[in-house]
Symmetry: C2
Subunit: 145 residues, 2 copies
């Protein structure tokens, strides 16, 4: 199993908006070209980012821009915006443990907190990284090319 590529696509999109936004209109078609991902998927991802207050888009005239400063957008914000993980949590628990068994009726009590801790460790790491970090590295690499 893997976390949906909408996450890396979203980071790619946001990087493009920052890097190219001052030179050209960044449309879903342009982003489709840069990511290699279907333009409709791009528009879906942009829609999620817009709902989360991360980007602004313009119907008709086209193009997207960031809605807040780079250092105020964490990878967790992006991960959250594109619904990488559903409400059930990162770990899929088997759904019918047997309540007649001492282990079956208690396994949730024993495991739920620990599974949540593990998920939070992942998410805390994502919270510690901002788009400013990602784009600063990107600019450095591009300049060195």
């Amino acid at each position: 199993m893997q976390i949906t590529s909408k996450f890396t696509v979203a980071v790619h999109i946001l990087t493009c908006i920052e890097i190219f936004g001052n030179q050209r209109r960044v449309t879903s078609d342009f982003l489709s070209g840069s990511t290699g991902v279907n333009a409709v998927i791009i528009r879906n991802v942009l829609g999620k980012l817009r709902e989360a207050g991360i980007v602004e888009t313009r119907q008709g005239s086209g193009g997207a821009n960031l809605a807040r400063p780079l250092n105020e957008i964490t990878l967790y914000d992006v991960y959250n915006a594109v619904d990488c993980i559903d409400d059930e949590g990162l770990f899929h628990f088997h759904e019918n443990p047997n309540a007649d068994c001492p282990v079956g009726r208690n396994i949730h009590k024993v495991m739920d907190g620990r599974l949540k801790s593990a998920q939070q460790a992942l998410e805390n790491e994502l919270k510690s990284i901002t788009l400013a970090d990602v784009i600063s590295d990107t600019r450095k690499i591009i300049e060195e090319e």
Copy 2:
């Protein structure tokens, strides 16, 4: 997306083996009853745990037992044994970023390390928890019932 329930099933199985192993033979049929999961799936999971050196099983006579001490089996060992995450890693990267675009040809360099860090944060948390912890809690709860 969610991590396969084979992980929580495996923890459930191992808990049953420890809790019931001294009173009765713990067969795939018994484990199917306790977990609510198909006995063939149980046998698949037991097979993975056996390959990883976590349990021993007996063909013919039936039953499974732990192959090493509880405090030497971490949740990470279990997670790893049942192949929760494939070789590509936890995050699915979009597969065709455009090498003709400065962002497209560098996005992997910028993101791969950070994605790996996030995955490792999750895995480190799982490494910090052993089956001894899980089963100690389980026994406590059962006694209090």
